[in-house]
Amino acid sequence: MCLAMPVRISQLLPDDMAVVDMDGVSREVSVALIDTPQEGDYVILHVGYAIGKLDAEEAARTLALMDQLAASQSEATP
């Protein structure tokens, strides 16, 4: 329904704007919808607006869980 992607804030600009980048592609977006944006933060970008921050610890936890589930299966079915 809503195309959105994680991007990194590389530079904060005046007027609630920021430069975000992903793999060398960058664009100016609005950070007016989020609290205390910081350079280096990952945010979820939708139609030119950061709509929320991405929690790196939670992402790592989710990935670890996925790896663990997948690994348990490869052990179970050699």
């Binding site: 329904m1 992903m22 139609v47 991405l54 790196a56 992402a59 348990s72 299966q73």
Partner: protein, 372 residues
Amino acid sequence: MKYVDEFRRGDIARGMAAHIHTLVQPDRQYRLMEFCGGHTHAIARYGLTGLLPDNIRLIHGPGCPVCVLPIGRVDSAIELALRPDVILCSYGDTLRVPASNKMSLYQARAKGADVRMVYSTSDALQIARDNPHKQVVFFAIGFETTTPPTALALIQARQEKLANFSVFCNHVLTPPAMRHLLAAGDAVQLDGFIGPSHVSTVIGSAPYAAVAAEFAKPVVIAGFEPLDVLQSVAMLVEQINAGRTEVETQFTRAVTAQGNAKARSLVAQTMTLRDSFEWRGLGQVPHSALAIHPDFAEFDAELRFALAYRHVPDHKACECGAILRGQKRPQDCKVFAIVCNPDNPLGSCMVSSEGACAAHYHYGRFVEGQPA
């Protein structure tokens, strides 16, 4: 792409799919509705259905804003666009949506309408600044994710006193539509929902609690990458097996219970709940959409241009309604891939690549052996 590629690893997907195979109880059916077109797209794009056990059925729901936009609303947008004093700004998604009399915004453009595709509401504001002698209307569509940027544009327009800017508001809400689907007596039996995470980045997971409790259905707020979808399916299967009907979040990396308070507050200031709104395929759904708040009435295109809504029935042979309600599959529709195809869509589910029909046409058609 950090935080994208990690969630698209095929080897992990196969391991997780094997895990789901061990979870399902063979004598049981799991009918899971992915509410959102983004999930429909991901499932089709990565061929996830083929990885899942046969007794898990994924049902495509109405979460594609282009698909649920009723014809009458597109007609109004076209009517506006054809006015010589108007520049209509719209996201690219709406341009090909079929309206009455074989019209679309694309056709309107060919007839001389000034229709501009924008990527962001800030582009629409800039067009208004650059064209002070034109009325610039932003054709706002989308769910709760897309609503806060429209709210900011309204606030910005008021600050700048941009008198030639207005919004044709068609923003719709997810939880009321979910409630409507479950309340309808003739709906397909559903065992759980894969909920849209980008919506919940804004509204949080809490608004689904009442629906889950009232109808005793589990909801998992799921990310849109293929591994997110698989993990969410596993979480739903576990809830169903255990007889739990909770709202759980898989997309914990950006969803909290409360969501984005700042964004919600901006929406509350600028928009107000409609008593009822027509959804294509679902009919009138109470309290399911937003209108411009009376405080911002001067920027409401419906008032400025005295737009009157007319209900327009869908094409007789088109099954978009039943497909959006989860009662039929695209391949059950008589016109699917015959007279209705992405180059000449009869119904809205064929227009957006997120629509259930377009997704099936593009990605899954060969499985059924349907001729092109």
